[in-house]
Symmetry: D2
Subunit: 313 residues, 4 copies
């Protein structure tokens, strides 16, 4: 069986770091590049963090391209109160020495999608959708060339995590999410409804802590540093792990259950801006444009994650 | 123990009919009047239906006041594809002979609220909130006089039943719902999240069918006629029974669990218009303005309903 | 020739006072009642001011009905920084002694419109359109009974006077204006485009000052007190006189030139909320719903006004 | 005196063609490149048309870069009912032979702005603002490097030409206009208020017709072919000439009078989407972000245009 070729568009971020490591650990995924975007922290910081992760995993052969420093829409949000100054606080990682590539992330995306064989490439999106949306405006032809996009974003039952109705990645650039959702690309969404089922309980954290490598240790340090916020706020049994669900779906789709539905993005009411409006009960005639997940096998997910992190240095 | 004094504002409707009969059957509720509103069907039809219900239950001592024939907002919706031509198809009920009162429903509401002792009166709302909103604009002083309002309306996890995000009663007059939610009145909301837990399963329907009176027979006939739509569409184990949850909450609050939260109404985006935006996780600083229910004891609810309907003629 | 029967719906206000006196001075208009609304100042204050004006003009035979104390929409605006504490600062008018009628202004409107012969009654609107909109929701049948409505409201070229795009009366209750504009009533609008042509220049003010009666004196005192704001702000040759244009149009329509066009009210964007969107060039297929004036004969208008005020005590 | 260095971003278009020729004819402007955008017709057609104009004027030394094929926002509009199939119907121009450059227009803009000395370069915008908005998102640093942007776009008194409130260029990509207006770039706007003063009357057209060169002949043929639409629709004395006003302002600023004001773009109400909301009377505290013109010396403008077109082959 051949490996999936993937590009990861990301704003690391603790969850992004875990997702990237999960992808690096699999021999069934070939990570072509990391493209970064402003999100939890600035695009300069997310590019630095991407390099840090690759150096930690000894995969500096993978290029890092910095993308957009700001969203298309005029909403500006920062989650640095949640994610700390660097976005990856916790482990003591040195400043990266590998370079960020000179080519802009948007242009790398366009070229890579055009150069790859038709329907051979998956895009994994772990932050605001600015880069792909920009690529679609600049080069509309790429929409039909991707094999698919799998993204962490949106919410239905769970409500939002940045406003009562909007999830952070979509809220941080609603126009970008709208452009992607109207593009016709085969899209799989891992919304809060799913990621909130995948909690880092003490037992799961203990199994990660037992792993020998420095990657696993860094993951544990980051989760411990970042997890506290959600625990304090909601009194849950653990913090959700959002972004790795995307990579887990690529590796083992049966960990998740979903439905092909229409998802539209609310742009025009401040109360609902950035919300994913999911036509779950098919009450409109809007065509399905996304596989929207609603259920996760959390134990299976953590088993997959633990098994993979064990392979990294 | 003294009886609660209540006014029922309603657009019967099958669910409304069951809710009204549940109220009439209780010796702990004193129904002062029925006020009708355009909703499922026209206000003339809802007033006729209200009279029909009272005649069936031999309670023509209770006055019926017709309220508004149209919503405040410009949205126009009809649910007659769901509810049939009369809104109460099924039983063979004769044309009503009792008169509708000459006073407009909005004016009756204002006068009744002003005339009742402070905080003695509950308003039960089973349709679009047009009448109360109109009363609040015409006579803002009434806001502080009611004991409370309990309404069927809104949705959170369940999503909408008329659009992907909006529940019918709020969608049918979003401006009215917005006015009520900003009024400061003590408000209890029974949203779709709760009413969709209260399904008329075959077993529950069988117990209602076993009741002797003509009221119970009419209820069964209406439920059988109306329930099919939802069954066909969603493949559920039974049809939800929406409006009676409000009266059930007055009679036995511990059948339901909820949370004091802020609820705002989306007005300005066609995608989300009429949606109840519930700040469930307290992510904003908007103050709580409603007790929003999320859980029901469905067996307890049907037990309560069956026991009460047994008392009616 | 028989007199026009008119009801004046008003939030006095200096301009309102002048408009009311102009109507009282004409033997071709029969003022049936004044109905007041919250606007420049509270509805209690506008009702008191209406009584003051009638007492000044010795016309306490005309009833005053207080209408709505708040708008339908959630916008709250106050123009007391423009209009002073009473809304009619300037002359030293005593507290009124005539009573405000007990019937609510909205109900008076409905009853008067229903009781008058079909198409015999004109409504003159000088403030936010709350009362008529409420009447139309409560009693939709009245829409076809009025002869017409003439209102001060809206703006096209001139832009707004409370926001860059909205005129005060429409902005103060955009939902009300929207309801009236969708009602099918024959509507004549005197927007800022016209009223800003009717400036109280020193020469025109001098002719009013030369009039003998106490009414004219009060008008001059009010204009002098209120006019300064606009003069200071825009450096114009005089302050515009808004509301009397409506009555002047009833008395002498050829003072104004306009066009039958579609006017819609922007409700959903904070930047444009309350704006009158006028389809001047017929670029849409929306049907005409208002005669929207664009030009005034200002000298003719002041000549009419001066001649009429001379007749009052 | 040294020549202004300018880049022209354009969707030719008859008006664009005239504007480009006016710029080419001046020895005080150095046209660095034409960048094209979808607008009146597709971006492929606008690039072809740009080449046609340069070949007609024997200026194939100037590169043409094709930019975005679609707007950022989801509005799609076509004005081909106004502009004909090619966008430049009328003269019989051969298919162009000069190549369109391989570099994308957005990237050309970014590189050219970064490579030029600080504040040395003017951008002339004659179509939807998509390219510059994309460049600002991809490379926010360019905002402070331009000397200025002069654009045809917006409307105040005149109302819109594509909807009652929106001008075509802004309506065709409201999000792009919003991004440019928030960017801090020194912006001069030539709105419909100005361009509708610059009518191609028969006398002015006659003077152009008297010019000897093939460029002037092509302009006359295009104006005659395109002008009919506006003449038929509005019964004006001639058709407005929009885009050349931008170049005329660069050449002779005293032909126009304007005001430094805040201009915001309405995005969220379908009634007003794409409208330029101009704070003409300074009723808000939004800072000035554009020099918005309101008056033109039309005779001077046509004199300038005729004199310059005379210089072209
Ligand atoms: Ca992320
Ligand atoms: Ca109901
Ligand atoms: Ca007024
Ligand atoms: Ca153009």
């Amino acid at each position: 069986m051949t490996a999936h070729r993937i590009i990861i568009d990301t704003d690391p971020g603790v969850d992004d770091a875990v997702a990237i490591m999960l992808a690096l650990a699999s021999d069934r995924l070939k990570v072509e590049a990391l493209v970064t975007v402003a999100g939890n922290v600035t695009v300069e910081q997310t590019a630095r963090n991407a390099c840090r992760i690759l150096e930690l995993a000894q995969r500096t052969d993978i290029p890092v391209h910095a993308g957009c420093a700001r969203p298309i829409g005029h909403t500006r949000v920062s989650a640095s109160h949640v994610h700390g100054v660097t976005g990856m606080d916790g482990p003591d990682l040195p400043d990266p020495t590998m370079p960020v590539q000179p080519r802009h992330g948007v242009d790398y995306l366009i070229d890579a999608i055009r150069d790859a064989p038709q329907h051979s490439l998956h895009l994994v999106m772990l932050g605001p959708m600015t880069n792909l949306a920009m690529a679609l405006i600049k080069a509309p032809d790429i929409a039909t060339r991707l094999r698919g996009v799998v993204a962490m974003g949106g919410a239905r039952c769970e409500g939002g995590n940045i406003t009562p109705s909007a999830e952070f990645n979509f809220y941080a650039d609603p126009e970008a999410a709208d452009i992607v959702l109207r593009s016709g690309i085969a899209l799989t969404l891992l919304p809060l409804d799913v990621t909130h089922q995948c909690l880092t309980t003490p037992a799961r954290l203990a199994r990660l802590r037992a792993l020998p490598g420095r990657c696993a240790s860094a993951v544990v340090a980051m989760l411990e540093a970042s997890g506290r916020f959600d625990l304090n706020k909601y009194g849950w049994a653990g913090a959700p792990l959002h972004d790795p669900c995307t990579v887990a779906w690529l590796l083992q789709p049966d960990l998740f259950a979903g439905r092909q539905v229409n998802v539209a993005i609310s742009l025009h009411d401040p109360l609902t801006r950035g919300m994913s409006v999911v036509d779950w009960w098919d009450t409109t005639d809007r065509p399905a444009n996304a596989l929207f997940m609603h259920d996760a096998n959390a134990d299976g997910f953590y088993e997959l994650l633990t098994r993979h992190l064990a392979r990294l240095p």
